[in-house]
């Protein structure tokens, strides 16, 4: 019955116009070629054996660490932002940062922890904790000055306007001036020196 029904319901292949067959074949070939060409960018299927043994281990490990670092940051932010949290900013940003593999070169995973350290955790009401966060940002800045200077610049502004500790702010500004080699980084030290001489 099914065969009979199928034979009645479907026309033979020869009844399909040639241009439709041609279009289907061309579209299929183009799709496969396109996917093959972009295969290198596709997410890795990371089998557990491939992650621990063999030459692909090196390429799997940073990706796994980056995913772990993002998860840790999400958890940390959710923990600190929830309504019933009596002591905000208690979570350890440095632990999330160490998960990001600070020297692994996986820069997209590192941006969020450093951003959070400078913008959220460095605004702590307790000056001692804030200073600890400043020093953390300062220490991490010196590992990759050309990319991490915005975090230290923000911390320098906080040191100047929140803690009113101008020598500390100038120390950070001077470090940005001294350690960055990228010409697009703005000149901080000169401007701050002139502003401090005015005040």
């Amino acid at each position: 019955v099914i065969r009979l029904f199928g034979a009645i319901a479907e026309r033979p292949l020869a009844a399909v116009p040639g241009w439709i067959l041609g279009l289907l074949a061309a579209a299929l070939a183009a799709q496969i070629a396109w996917q093959l060409a972009r295969r290198a960018e596709a997410p890795l299927r990371c089998r557990s054996s491939a992650c621990t043994i063999g030459p692909s281990a090196a390429s799997c490990q940073p990706r796994r660490n980056a995913a772990l670092a993002r998860l840790a940051m999400l958890w940390l932010q959710a923990f600190d932002s929830r309504g019933d949290n009596a002591i905000p900013y208690r979570g350890s940003i440095t632990r999330a940062w160490s998960l990001a593999g600070r020297d692994s070169g996986h820069r997209s995973a590192q941006r969020l922890p450093l951003f959070a350290a400078a913008r959220v955790y460095a605004r702590n009401e307790d000056p001692e904790k804030a200073r600890r966060m400043y020093e953390f940002v300062f220490a991490e800045f010196s590992r990759d000055p050309n990319r991490r200077w915005p975090a230290l610049a923000h911390v320098a502004l906080l040191a100047k306007h929140r803690l009113h500790d101008l020598p500390l702010a100038r120390r950070y500004a001077a470090a940005i001036q001294r350690q960055t080699t990228d010409p697009t980084v703005p000149g901080w030290q000169g401007r701050w020196r002139s502003s401090s001489s005015k005040t």
Partner: protein
Amino acid sequence: VLDALALLLPRLDAVTRGDWLLYGAPPAAELAQSLAGLALYVLLLAAAGLFDISRRNL
């Protein structure tokens, strides 16, 4: 089997990325490349649809 299926399906993960929301829009070239992949898939679907309709005994 999964790899063969992946050749036929579009890369939707390339056009729904969370880091575009966090770190800003992608360069135009990267966006165009992702959209071109989707356009190719739409073309494949249209061709398959035409093939299917032209074989139906309506």
